[in-house]
Symmetry: C2
């Protein structure tokens, strides 16, 4: 669906030429970035704060489909996915390293697009690209990003701190990224059948953007700081709510009760899910890739939180023996199971 007009071969520049070309527009923004790209290692200084490190790998054909993913969006999303992990620790993200592998089917212009999306995300979230690696690949596009940030020790929120009675909160709304993906996949099939038919995504911008251009929730981390609320546990939603709440309850040695009617689902997500014959609740629980924050707070913090329209309280933490339960709108009780997207069972090649 996307065409490239100009085309410069990467081999013309070589690895060092390419790195120089891509990194020449980087301006270091963070005081903690002492030395960025250009030496054997970057040098950082967190001045007594704790350093936070997270890493994610994105592979073509597994995590993204270039048939409907513009490279600039992909670059943006690749950074977001990684920053999200730092925010999920209640920390500030300050640096990333970016490693790229790509075959010669990618022109310099294509890689520039990808990198432009990364730079845009870094610019917006005040993050420095401080290093990386580029190599050719016999396969498809390979993206590996490590994100780095910091926090005061007393601010860090782990997955294992949830206590009985804590309220379970989630930012934004759920399921949109998954339903957006269904839409893009359908239009891809239509396009493959007849390349003259233009994709019909009209009025679906919101859920398409949820899939292609998620935004990591730094604003929630800022809000929590402003409200002086320190969550007792936190995780970002990459694999789906069900999978993530189970990480929290398993590591906290607790159980949970979640109410279906409380799950935040955007009307367009619900409507589009139904048009695909999908249950919106299942999309919210197991769709994944929403990159919202899931966290637990003490009941004492409820009054502070209840007026924020962008945070939903969806249930509470129970004792471990009570298990992990979903209470449906009809009042039925189901065990919550992780049916999140599993990169190992979804592909058999």
């Amino acid at each position: 669906m996307f065409e490239q007009t100009d085309r410069t071969e990467i081999a013309k520049l070589g690895e060092f030429g390419l790195i120089d070309h891509l990194t020449k527009h980087i301006h270091i923004k963070n005081e903690s970035s002492i030395k960025g790209v250009g030496d054997d290692a970057a040098v950082l200084d967190f001045k007594g704060k704790k350093a936070l490190i997270s890493t994610d790998m994105l592979l073509e054909g597994i995590h993204f489909d270039l048939a409907f993913t513009p490279l600039k969006h992909l670059g943006y999303k690749a950074i977001m996915v990684n920053l999200s992990d730092i925010y999920a620790m209640n920390g500030m993200a300050t640096q990333v390293t970016v490693s790229l592998g790509f075959s010669s089917k990618f022109s310099l212009e294509a890689i520039e697009e990808l990198y432009a999306g990364m730079l845009l995300a870094c610019e917006k979230f005040n993050v420095d690209i401080i290093g990386g690696d580029t190599t050719s690949s016999r396969q498809g596009l390979v993206i590996s990003i490590t994100s780095i940030g910091y926090a005061d020790e007393s601010d860090i929120v782990y997955r294992n701190g949830a206590e009985e009675g804590d309220l379970i909160c989630v930012s934004g709304d759920l399921g949109g990224a998954y339903v957006g993906l269904q839409l893009l996949e359908r239009e891809k099939q239509v396009f493959l059948t007849n390349p003259n038919i233009q994709p019909d995504l009209e009025g679906k911008d919101y859920i398409v953007e949820r899939q292609l251009k998620p935004e990591a929730r730094i604003d929630i981390v800022d809000l929590l700081k402003k409200l002086k609320i320190k969550p007792t546990s936190m995780i970002d939603i990459s694999d789906g709510l069900a999978s993530e709440i189970l990480h929290i309850t398993r590591q906290s040695k607790k159980g949970c009760k979640i109410y279906e009617e409380k799950l935040p689902i955007d009307p367009m997500t619900a409507e589009t899910a139904l048009s695909f014959g999908l249950d919106p609740t299942v999309c919210a629980l197991s769709g994944g890739e929403d990159y919202e924050l899931l966290f637990t707070i003490k009941q004492a913090d409820y009054d502070q939180m209840k007026h924020d329209v962008d945070i939903s309280i969806i249930g509470y933490i129970t004792e471990e023996s009570a298990g992990n339960q979903l209470i449906t709108k009809a009042g039925n009780v189901h065990d919550i199971k992780a049916q999140g997207w599993n990169a190992f069972t979804s592909t058999q090649s």
Copy 2:
């Protein structure tokens, strides 16, 4: 050449099961590793020291050939390559994150072998695996590692500090890894032609190990500390001496003179290179993958260094306008050009 007998499918475990399985034997060794695997991000504390971060990506078919690379060696080498970058900053390596992508042709046992090599390297070099990512791949094996370390600010050695008159030093010997690779490639061709012929690597252990199982030179960093010598510049040799010395002189805005007769080349490397019709000097200059340290020292430090048999002084730094020159054994002068292994021109797929 390598056969797997037992075979467990990864899909049986799923991503989280696999991560649990691989990481259950990790015991955190460094005081700076506050929280390792198991949350959104790892938490580190460098207590006022500077943090060092480096990253490398290794792709099947580009950086390694599984036809002659045992997975355990590959895991070991993948860690070494990354630690080497931290040592090249004159720092101590303390943590790594490990991201792996692999297709379903890899069994659990195969991934365990790879991971065992990584754990062995980390054990030996006192490094903690603190995080990572695992995913399926449609392609081959993908390995992305980020290494983390620390140093006092006053100890960090960059590439840009070489001064006119400084002596150029290199640890160990050069070219062995490249010649070892030629040997392995030849035996692979023999094997492909007739699988009944056993590989003939007898007596070639040293150069085969240089290729398959390099050792990062932490001992040189320790030695420099003991001798109270702080190099004026340093880099590790991954792409070949020629390419690396040009990084130093370009970033230091200087030139250099290197003497062919001073290049440290192991007799087995020289002899085997000649049997392939290769010039040992070219192998030393452009072969790459030796993971030795190349550094410059002040002339005043010469007396301290001259007795170390594992460090060769191969030339000196000149003013920039004098260029980068190799003085051959016959007394001829050649410009040094980076003809190191280039991942973008070596593959056209």
